[in-house]
C-alpha cells in the first residue's frame, strides 16, 4: 500500500506525513455521572470496522491540523464524502 491522505488545507499527500488519530467517537462526554464503563468505552474501545470508517488524522509534517476522513480499512483508500466546511473545520482544529 502507499497510503495518501487528503488534508483539507494542504491537499493530497503521502500518508506518512500524517498521524492516525482514532475512530470518530464524538465529543468528550460530560463528566457528571460518568461510569467507568462508559468512560473506558470512550477512551479505549474501538469498532475495528473492516470497511469504511470515519476517523481522525493529524497533519504532523504539514499544517498541523486535525481533520476527519472516511477510509476503507480493507483497501486503505479514502472515500470522498462531500463536506463544504471541511477546510474551515480543519482550520479551527476540527469541528465548529
Amino acid at each position: 500500500m502507499a497510503l495518501t491522505i487528503t488534508c483539507p488545507i494542504c491537499g493530497k499527500r503521502n500518508g506518512y506525513e500524517f498521524k492516525f488519530g482514532g475512530e470518530e467517537k464524538g465529543p468528550r462526554p460530560d463528566e457528571k455521572d460518568l461510569t467507568p464503563e462508559a468512560w473506558c468505552e470512550y477512551v479505549h474501545m474501538n469498532k475495528c470496522v473492516a470497511g469504511v470508517q470515519e476517523e481522525w488524522w493529524f497533519h504532523k509534517d504539514g499544517c498541523g491540523s486535525w481533520f476527519k476522513i472516511h477510509r476503507d480499512t480493507t483497501t486503505n483508500l479514502e472515500k470522498e464524502v462531500k463536506d463544504e466546511n471541511r477546510v474551515q473545520k480543519a482550520k479551527s482544529g476540527g469541528q465548529k
Partner: protein, 407 residues
C-alpha cells in the same frame, strides 16, 4: 518412495448441526486450544471454523521467533511455559517443529535502555528464566556481524541476551497441531465462514456459518487480527484494539552468518537466519488500522537502512520477499483473554499484537482448561478485559505506546 499418504488433518467432512464447542479461526491459538481440549480434557466434539485455510493469517506470516523475556510478572510465566512446551509438543505431536533455541539478543542503545533491560532481566531471572545483560563487546562475540562502533545512528551499549529463546518453524506448528487435533477427533472446517453467534437467555446457543447453523453452548473467537471486528460484529462487544499491518521480509538464502535472533528497539528491527539460510527481518507497524496485509515501500527501505547500520555485512545481500500480516494491538501491549464474563459461553482470546506465535502453545493449554472447566485459570486472570475500565493497564511496555492518540 511415493507412498499414498492420508490427508494430514482428516478428510473433508460435512458440517454437523451441533458441536460441544465451536472455535472461530483456524490459526495457532485455535488449533492449540482444540488440541489441548481433546488431549487433556477429553473434549473432542469441536468444530474449528476457518474462512480461508488453516494458518492463513498471522500463523503463517510471523517470523517464528519465540522468547520469554517479557517485562511483567504476569507475562513472564506464561511465555516461559510456552517456551518450555515446544520440545514437549514436538514429541507429543510426533512432528518436527524445528525448535532452534539459538538465543535472542536484544540490543540496547542508551543508558536508559540498559536500565529498562535490567528490569526485564531481573524479572526473568526472578522467575527462573535465563537472561543476562551483556556489554557491546560480548554481544559482538556472539554476533560477529554486529557493528559496535560509535559511528552509527544508535551506537550499541549492550544487549539483553536470552539463551533459551529462538525460532520455531511456524508452518510446522500449524500443521502439527492440526494433525494432532484431527487425530483425536476435532473437525477442521476450512473455507467455512462464521457469520453470526446466536444467544438465548443470555448465553451462547449457536453459530451460523455459510455452510449452515451449528448448535453449541461454547464459542471461542481466536481469529488473530480479525478477532476484534468479528467480536464487535457478532457479539456487539467493543475492544481496546487497533488492527495494524506488520511487515516482515527475507533476504536470499545464505550460508550460516547469524547464529542468534538479534533485535533492536531503537532501530525497530530484528533479524535472524532461518534454517533455509534466509535472513528474516521485520519489526514495526504502519501506524494506522487496516486489514490489507499489504506491504509498503517505506518499510522495506527502513529495514534496509537499519540493517545496513547494525549488521553492515548485510549490505551485500538482497531482499527477496516482503509480506504483511495483521497485529491486533492493545494499549498495554498485552492480550485479552476472557470468557463467560460478557456473555455466558462466549470466550475470546485476542489482542496479541505480534506476540501471538510465541504464546500459542501455553495459551492453548490454559484456554482449553478455561473452556473445559468454566473456571478461569490463575495464569489467565490478569488478562481479563475489565482491566481497562479499572485503569490497570498491564505495563508490558515501559514507554508510552504511540499508535493511537490515547497517549
Amino acid at each position: 518412495m511415493f507412498l499414498k499418504s492420508k490427508p494430514m488433518w482428516g478428510k473433508k467432512t460435512k458440517l454437523k448441526t451441533s458441536y460441544d464447542m465451536v472455535i472461530i479461526g483456524g490459526g495457532l491459538h485455535s488449533l492449540a486450544t482444540a488440541y489441548f481440549l481433546a488431549k487433556e480434557h477429553g473434549i473432542t466434539d469441536i468444530a474449528i471454523i476457518e474462512k480461508n485455510y488453516i494458518g492463513f493469517g498471522g500463523a503463517g506470516r510471523n517470523t517464528a521467533i519465540v522468547r520469554a523475556n517479557q517485562r511483567t510478572q504476569y507475562n513472564v510465566p506464561l511465555y516461559k511455559e510456552a517456551l518450555d512446551l515446544w520440545p514437549v509438543l514436538t514429541k507429543d505431536l510426533d512432528y518436527n517443529l524445528m525448535f532452534n533455541n539459538c538465543g535472542n539478543l536484544n540490543l540496547m542503545h542508551s543508558e536508559a535502555a540498559m536500565k529498562a533491560a535490567r528490569m526485564t532481566i531481573a524479572t526473568a531471572q526472578f522467575h527462573g528464566v535465563e537472561s543476562h545483560l551483556i556489554d557491546a563487546k560480548e554481544a559482538k562475540e556472539l554476533v560477529p556481524a554486529l557493528n559496535i562502533s560509535e559511528d552509527i545512528t544508535f551506537p550499541i551499549h549492550g544487549a539483553m541476551f536470552h539463551p533459551p529463546g529462538g525460532v520455531v518453524r511456524h508452518d510446522a506448528v500449524v500443521w502439527g497441531l492440526a494433525r494432532g487435533a484431527a487425530k483425536k477427533g476435532v473437525e477442521i472446517h476450512q473455507q467455512t465462514e462464521a457469520l453470526d453467534i446466536g444467544t438465548q437467555n443470555g448465553r451462547v446457543a449457536s453459530v451460523t456459518t455459510n455452510r449452515g447453523k451449528i448448535n453449541t453452548k461454547q464459542v471461542l473467537i481466536s481469529a488473530g487480527g480479525y478477532s476484534a471486528a468479528l467480536i464487535y460484529d457478532m457479539m456487539g462487544i467493543k475492544l481496546p484494539i487497533s488492527v495494524l499491518t506488520i511487515q516482515a521480509m527475507v533476504t536470499q538464502p545464505l550460508k550460516p552468518v547469524l547464529d542468534h535472533v538479534v533485535s533492536s528497539g531503537a532501530y525497530h528491527c530484528y533479524a535472524n537466519q532461518t534454517l533455509k539460510g534466509e535472513i528474516a527481518t521485520g519489526a514495526h507497524m504502519d501506524p494506522w488500522p487496516n486489514y490489507t496485509t499489504l506491504n509498503t515501500a517505506h518499510y522495506i527501505k527502513h529495514q534496509a537502512e537499519a540493517l545496513s547500520e547494525f549488521l553492515p555485512c548485510l549490505r551485500g545481500v538482497r531482499f527477496m520477499r516482503i509480506w504483511g500480516g495483521l497485529a491486533d494491538m492493545t494499549p498495554d501491549m498485552a492480550p485479552i483473554m476472557d470468557g463467560n464474563e460478557q456473555v455466558e459461553g462466549f470466550f475470546m482470546d485476542c489482542g496479541w499484537g505480534y506476540f501471538g506465535f510465541k504464546s500459542c502453545s501455553a495459551v492453548g493449554k490454559y484456554m482449553a482448561q478455561f473452556m473445559a472447566t468454566d473456571q478461569c485459570p490463575d495464569m489467565l486472570k490478569p488478562f481479563a478485559l475489565n482491566r481497562y475500565q479499572e485503569h490497570r493497564l498491564m505495563g508490558e511496555t515501559a514507554a508510552l505506546v504511540n499508535y493511537s492518540p490515547d497517549n
